[in-house]
């Protein structure tokens, strides 16, 4: 029997000590805490830890870390010991209520589930699984074993990905059986609350044939000044003819170092839509690998970023077409203020057999200050000949003529700029296809823009 209750996760003797992530004891203690986990999971964790230890920290000369300020990356100050017992429920309850119409809700604080799972009972009866990983390890053992595999996008952050798999304890598991179509989104809130806490949120979404589902994931910090390490992994598998929409709202506080390592895998005629709203973190690494292995599958990946201060967003994407008649689109829009930096590195890879592929990749950067810096590495590797592929990257400023037009109509410069920024980002917000959520995102952006 596995016992992964929050209280079990706090080893008494380490209550007040800080552990370095790179310390061997960290892993030994972790294994001790989850010793009743299934053997295959322990094996996976051991292999992941070995990989973590044997992989060196990234250097700026590594091709997959080009332009990153790698000296800012570190794993030394973090631990896995939450003071969750002292948290007041009210402090996060209200804010874990961003959307009104939902199919289900799960709230984590420091990787511990802190309120009961909300779940539309009708869907439960239809065979939909909406639960925590902790619970899935217990009650859906055979199913979960197929999908917790240590899969990573493999775009450079393998060290951090391996650490995720070795120390990960919780996350969500969403499974939709054949033919079930769900319109209202499932929501998950991942909060950090303890100073120095390292969290490892894990997300698995599986759709069986012709199923349809929508998940919105919020990543937030309870306090503005706590320093956290967040390494999140998500693996999405869309079965034949199914549709998945996955939205991630990355709104960690500005002290957080975060890694969001995602894979999306589309079977025949499946559609996957992934939308990323990135505003938080001191440093964020976002890796995204979409793989179209089924004939006629389609993936759309969108990202909206707003960076201020000294923030650095490091985005790496790969679109792999490994079957014919596949279609992919990618649009990353970044707005940069102050001395912030963004890196977008994208690659479309079309394999030999993936004829009749349409693949697009666009990166647009809007620089609003003289010391902001946008780096763009849009790449293509095309091995099939009957394809339509293109990529585009533009970096620039607000159009003077448009600003002038607004000013001449009595709008102040600040408002004009805000309007223009919203105009620039609206293209992504529009993809959310949910007015409630779109308004929440607009709120987040408005809050972050200079007053």
């Amino acid at each position: 029997m596995i016992e992964l209750r929050p209280e079990r996760l706090i080893p008494q003797n380490f209550q007040n000590s800080s552990l370095e992530m790179t310390n061997k004891d960290t892993f030994t203690n972790h294994l001790n805490r989850i010793n009743s986990a299934p053997a295959w999971l322990l094996d996976l964790k051991r292999a992941s830890w070995d990989k973590f230890v044997s992989t060196s920290m990234p250097k700026h000369t590594d091709d997959t870390w080009r332009f990153t300020n790698t000296k800012n990356l570190n794993l030394d100050k973090y631990h896995q010991i939450s003071d969750i017992k002292s948290i007041k429920k009210e402090s996060f309850e209200e804010q874990s209520n961003q959307l009104n119409l939902i199919s289900g809700k799960i709230v984590f604080v420091d990787d511990h589930q802190c309120r009961d799972t909300e779940f539309d009972t009708e869907l439960k009866e239809k065979g939909v699984i909406w639960t925590t990983l902790e619970d899935a390890f217990l009650n859906h053992r055979d199913l979960i074993k197929k999908y917790v595999t240590g899969k990573l996008p493999n775009l450079g952050a393998e060290k951090f990905g391996s650490l995720h798999h070795s120390l990960m304890t919780n996350g969500i598991f969403l499974y939709i059986p054949q033919g079930i179509e769900i319109d209202l989104p499932f929501t998950v809130y991942n909060w950090t609350s303890t100073m120095g806490m390292a969290v490892f949120p894990h997300t698995i979404i599986i759709t069986d044939k012709y199923a349809k589902v929508n998940l919105v994931s919020f990543f937030k910090s309870m306090e503005p000044n706590i320093q956290n390490l967040a390494i999140s992994c998500s693996n999405i598998y869309a079965g034949i003819g199914s549709q998945i929409t996955f939205t991630a709202i990355q709104d960690w506080n500005l002290k957080t170092q975060s890694y969001h390592l995602n894979t999306a895998n589309a079977d025949q005629d499946a559609n996957i839509k992934n939308i990323n709203i990135n505003v938080g973190s001191a440093y964020m690494r976002h890796e995204h690998h979409t793989q179209m292995f089924g004939l006629g599958s389609k993936t759309d990946t969108y990202s909206l970023s707003l960076t201020t201060g000294e923030q650095e967003f490091d985005q790496r994407s790969l679109q792999t077409h490994s079957a014919p008649n596949t279609n992919s689109d990618l649009l990353f829009k970044n707005t940069l203020l102050d001395s912030s930096r963004t890196i977008f590195s994208g690659l479309i890879r079309v394999n030999e057999n993936a004829q009749k592929t349409d693949a697009y990749q666009t990166n647009r950067n809007l620089l609003l200050s003289e010391s902001a810096e946008a780096n763009s590495l849009p790449g293509l590797e095309i091995l099939a000949d009957d394809v339509k592929c293109s990529h585009g990257a533009t970096s620039g400023r607000l159009d003077d003529n448009q600003i002038f037009y607004l000013l001449s109509r009595g709008i102040t410069k600040k408002t004009a700029q805000q309007l223009m920024v919203f105009g620039f980002l609206e293209e992504i917000i529009d993809k959310l296809d949910n007015q409630d959520l779109a308004n929440r995102v607009r709120d987040i952006i408005r809050k972050k823009l200079p007053k």
Binding site: E370, P378, D386, G392, S395, R397
Partner: protein, 468 residues
């Protein structure tokens, strides 16, 4: 002493060579003795010998850039390459003095004498040394210098030394270090202030010895307000073992000067062509690279412009054609280092059969610069299902007063177009050739006339047998 020999003419273009007796030969392999030998034969002073020896050390210490470039580089056997060969002749002053066999080589290449007379000055490099060098009297009067780098250093040390190795430092990369160690041949050109050279200066290069690496070194300085077009074209005979060509070309455009550098590269399919080309544009100057790569086994070439002066402009227009077993790894670099600088990159590549073409670009607008602009377009055409194309640009922009745009597209030859042309009586091959020529036409039209004609002919020849 010229040697008449039986001409081994094959129907394949460029696939012929003459037995040539080499008076000087540094043997195969590379060590300090090779360098000392080259330097001695060329009668260089100690400072240049030291420069070469230092470069050799840097070359040896640097690893091959295979962490981003193709593994094919590992197939270069540096020990089997001849680093220096020359006939030991002074560059000829008039056409009559050019040895007959060299003349025949040019005849076979189809460079008509009239064309050469038409052109301002011809310097044809036969292996390492310039076999023919003639600058028109008019240019001489205007003070234009057009000689080899060795002579440049001896005769004009104050100009030469000021700029030599300044745009491309020896340690820039492994192959620029190799060139710095063993360079011979190439051109040194100086255009005095305000002189606008109307007709292009031209140089033809040829490799004509098995396992012979050619390491020419070109330095072009256009003084304030001067203008010049330099053309470089090459075809090489086919050999059985790999050949290495590694040139270094440095351009300096002083205030208000314009330099246009045109290359048509058609080495045979066993040549590794690893070239470093970079220009520095001062205030209001303009540097334009027109680069066309059709031959070689592997070409790695990324012409660059450092926009050092305000309002300077850089441009790279590039065409690459990769046929079976060829890899054209080309691109461009634009380093903006002053306000109001603009750059433009247009690259078109065609992959045929198992050919692979790659575009690698770098655009950098680093510090608090104002009103800088870059435009990049790269289009790739894939002809067969085994063909491959890659695009790897890297763009950095800082500040809110600059703009960059980059666009790339990949497509195949339109089946409708081919069908339409075949319906009107063209064979599939002809239709394909016409379609490919159409794809690059808007770029080719920017080339000087004689080059655009030659280029279209080369593309036609490459397209032969690409279908069916």
């Amino acid at each position: 002493m010229a040697v008449k020999s039986t001409i081994e003419i094959d129907q394949e273009k460029g696939n012929f060579h003459y037995d040539t007796q080499y008076n000087y030969d540094a043997g195969t392999g590379l060590d300090e003795n090779t360098i000392r030998y080259i330097s001695d034969v060329k009668g260089e002073d100690k400072s240049l010998l030291d420069f070469r020896l230092k470069a050799l050390k840097i070359f040896e210490s640097k690893a091959l850039p295979t962490h981003w470039a193709t593994q094919d580089l590992e197939n270069i056997n540096f020990d089997k390459i001849r680093y220096y060969l020359a006939k030991g002749q002074q560059p000829s002053r008039s056409w009559d003095e050019v040895p007959d066999d060299v003349k025949e080589t040019f005849e076979r290449l189809g460079i008509p004498e009239q064309e050469r007379k038409f052109l301002a000055g011809v310097e044809a490099q036969f292996d390492s040394e310039a076999a023919y060098s003639n600058t028109k009297e008019q240019l001489k009067k205007e003070g234009v210098i057009f000689i080899g780098p060795t002579e440049g250093l001896k005769e004009y040390p104050e100009i030469f030394q000021k700029w030599f190795g300044k745009v491309i430092p020896t340690g820039d990369n492994k192959f620029s270090a190799l060139n710095s160690a063993v360079f011979s041949g190439g051109s040194f050109i100086y255009i005095p202030p305000g002189v606008k050279v109307r007709q292009p200066l031209q140089a033809y290069f040829r490799i004509n010895a098995e396992n012979f690496g050619q390491f020419e070194r070109t330095l072009i300085i256009a003084d304030e307000g001067a203008e010049i077009t330099y053309m470089e074209g090459c075809t090489a005979p086919k050999f059985e073992t790999a050949t290495l060509h590694s040139a270094v070309v440095e351009l300096i455009a002083l205030k208000g000067a314009k330099i246009q550098y045109i290359t048509v590269q058609n080495w045979s399919n066993n040549v590794f062509n690893l070239v470093t080309k970079r220009g520095m544009a001062m205030e209001e100057a303009e540097i334009r690279w027109i680069d066309c790569n059709i031959g070689s086994r592997l070409t790695m070439k990324y012409p660059a412009v450092i926009l050092k002066g305000a309002k300077s402009r850089g441009e790279v227009l590039s065409i690459a054609l990769a046929n079976d077993r060829q890899h054209q790894d080309t691109g461009a670099k634009m380093i903006h280092a002053a306000d109001e600088t603009t750059s433009n990159i247009i690259s078109k590549s065609i992959s045929i059969g198992s050919g692979r073409s790659s575009y690698r670009g770098l655009v950098n607008i680093p510090k608090h610069l104002k009103k800088c602009k870059n435009n990049t377009e790269c289009d790739a055409l894939l002809v067969n299902s085994k063909s491959r194309t890659d695009t790897y640009p890297a763009i950095t922009l800082k500040g809110d007063d600059n703009s960059i745009q980059h666009e790339a597209s990949v497509s195949k030859v339109s089946a409708e177009q081919i069908f339409y042309m075949m319906q009107r009586g063209l064979s599939e091959g002809e239709a394909m050739s016409l379609s490919v020529n159409g794809f690059v036409n808007d770029l080719i039209s920017q080339f000087p006339m004689e080059y655009s004609v030659e280029l279209k002919r080369l593309i036609d020849m490459e397209m032969e047998g690409s279908v069916g």
